[in-house]
Symmetry: C2
Subunit: 350 residues, 2 copies
């Protein structure tokens, strides 16, 4: 993944308020086609031509959303961008710009913020977006990150959560549950480290899970793939809180029910084996783990031919009439109510 | 100003994560002309038609930017919006939408957040903007607010910080220093209260100063006034950090010098009298106090006729060649270097 950490330590106070922003964002260029003015004025000026603008924002709070004892700051910067871009892709839009604001206590040296912004910069480069603004502030304790992403989409291409119809197929990209199990691995290693700081864990078997937790990728390949397939989903959402919660959002917004088939949920083999190791039910993890940043969408049954052979997509169920309710169909062919148990809820209850 | 505080107290945990957002933002409507989709999907969808998009964002951190012991939450919500709208007006643009994210510890009851959002809602109504998104999170301590504002402007109307030329007139709206002196009054009353909680201060003589601190208004009247006067400033910035700091920004970005005349700086009589009471120099306060949210701009000398009789505007100086440097011309007709001493710096040094 990333190389990390530097030796030197420069106090934040060595830069003035404006000096620090200039220092951290000075090498962020802009693409003149979509961004007329980036950082350095009261506001950025953007050109969306004849496209509509999508905007989304997310907060990441230390101690709530991340733990710096195992989250390197460069990864954190990268992930803070992904969380937002995933929402842009979930509208079937293309991200164009982000703003990044952070509040940090002065226990963070300048080098730490440089690492954080290196992650932002890498994400911006790989996802072809401009960093056009932001704010930095001291905080009385801990670190808080606020990212806002703007994207562009033609009005006829926008996909909302609300367009699913009964009999539409429910489809998901990639596989689920890996990011949550990566978090369990990291939490376990933290406990081990607290007991024995000299332990040298072998994390190789868990590389995929840890990467899904620390360096998730938003599905920038999917909106162009839909274009190439001449496919417009009827509804779409990204999976941040867990498959069950997001499925219920689509149902609620579209006024439909759903049958979701347990046996169809795509799981990486390492998720299955690590769930066994932790004595956790892999279906529960896939339904409620969250942080997958995959896309969940519905398509008309007539579009099945366009997706059936594509390895990016797994059909996991179908929408029903609202009155039929929202159900998980188990491997034993039992229908049980689908309930929302996002990772927040899991944390509280477990 | 606002009525404030309620008796009841509902714990944040009584609402789920989504329930809380719905509860707080449920009555925010949208203007269909500029906002196709507001709160309730992965992202909002906005229509800027043939106009360019300006975007700006600001953080407000408890203990750094505000003190809840004298800042009512409804005012705080209102001010968080103003801080951002002021940046939009400084681009000569019209604000259209905002997103509002807050992180709060669970010492805040739901009623406190309702007060905060009531201030947001009032600002949105009075400034004709839509609240189109945001995020709420718990925090391990204190409150943090992140607002992003989007505005619209025709490309030919955008005013940057960088367009001033030598001999352009330097002009400011309104009067300066009042918000800073309002803060001094509030800080003094807090000290008095700490010593004697039963004291009943008479704040009437300070009403203007306190209102400028607690309920600032961004200058939404100015961009339309420029239109009506057929006037386009050559450069513009809003005054958040103080007149000296913002003047230096215009000079630096425009590659000019400046002569700023002390005797021309517009001061409210109450600023002068309270500066005497506190034994502070009113010029220093106007130059470095900040939080005025007035607009500072430059115009070609040929446009003087358009502004000279307008009570909104005060000509306070003129730009010079860069090599002449940046100076304050005192009442004694001495030229002294203009230095940036924003309120952050003042706080540290005083």
């Amino acid at each position: 993944m990333f190389e990390n950490s530097r030796e030197s330590r420069t106090d934040l106070s060595e830069y003035g308020e404006f000096g620090l922003i200039d220092h951290l964002t000075g090498n962020f260029g802009i693409t003149k086609e979509h961004t007329l003015k980036g950082i350095g004025d009261d506001a950025a000026v953007l050109d969306f031509k004849d496209e509509k603008v999508v905007v989304t924002t997310d907060l990441l709070v230390e101690g709530v959303h991340f733990d710096l004892s195992y989250m390197p700051l460069k990864h954190l910067g990268y992930k803070a961008v992904m969380v937002n871009l995933s929402d842009v892709f979930a509208m079937n839009a293309i991200p164009r710009q982000i703003t990044v604001s952070i509040a940090v206590s002065n226990r963070f040296p300048v080098e730490a913020l440089e690492e954080f912004y290196a992650g932002i910069e890498l994400a911006a480069k790989l996802y072809k977006i401009d960093v056009v603004g932001g704010d930095t502030s001291s905080s009385t304790s801990g670190m808080m990150i606020s990212v806002t992403a703007l994207g562009a989409v033609k009005e006829e291409d926008v996909v909302y959560r609300s367009g699913a119809k009964p009999n539409d197929l429910l489809v998901v990209t990639g596989d689920l549950g890996a990011a949550y199990m990566g978090l369990q691995i990291l939490e376990r290693e933290k406990q081990v480290f607290n007991v024995n700081p000299n332990s040298q864990p072998d994390l190789d078997p868990y590389a995929y899970l840890i990467e899904r937790q620390l360096k998730p990728e938003a599905r920038q390949d999917i909106p162009p793939l839909f274009k190439a397939l001449d496919l417009k989903p009827t509804s779409m959402i990204d999976i941040s809180d867990g498959l069950s919660s997001e499925t219920l959002h689509l149902c609620k917004n579209s006024k439909t029910g759903v049958n979701l088939y347990e046996e169809k949920i795509p799981l990486d083999p390492s998720v299955i084996s690590v769930c066994e190791e932790f004595q956790l039910d892999s279906t529960t993890i896939a339904l409620s783990g969250g942080e997958d940043y995959e896309l969940l969408f519905t398509v008309d049954q007539g579009d099945f031919e366009k997706i059936k052979a594509n390895p990016n997509f797994t059909v996991i169920g179908h929408m029903t009439e609202e009155a039929e309710g929202m159900h998980l169909v188990t491997r034993a062919n039992q229908k049980i109510p689908l309930i929302a148990r996002g990772w927040n809820a899991m944390k509280k209850e477990d």
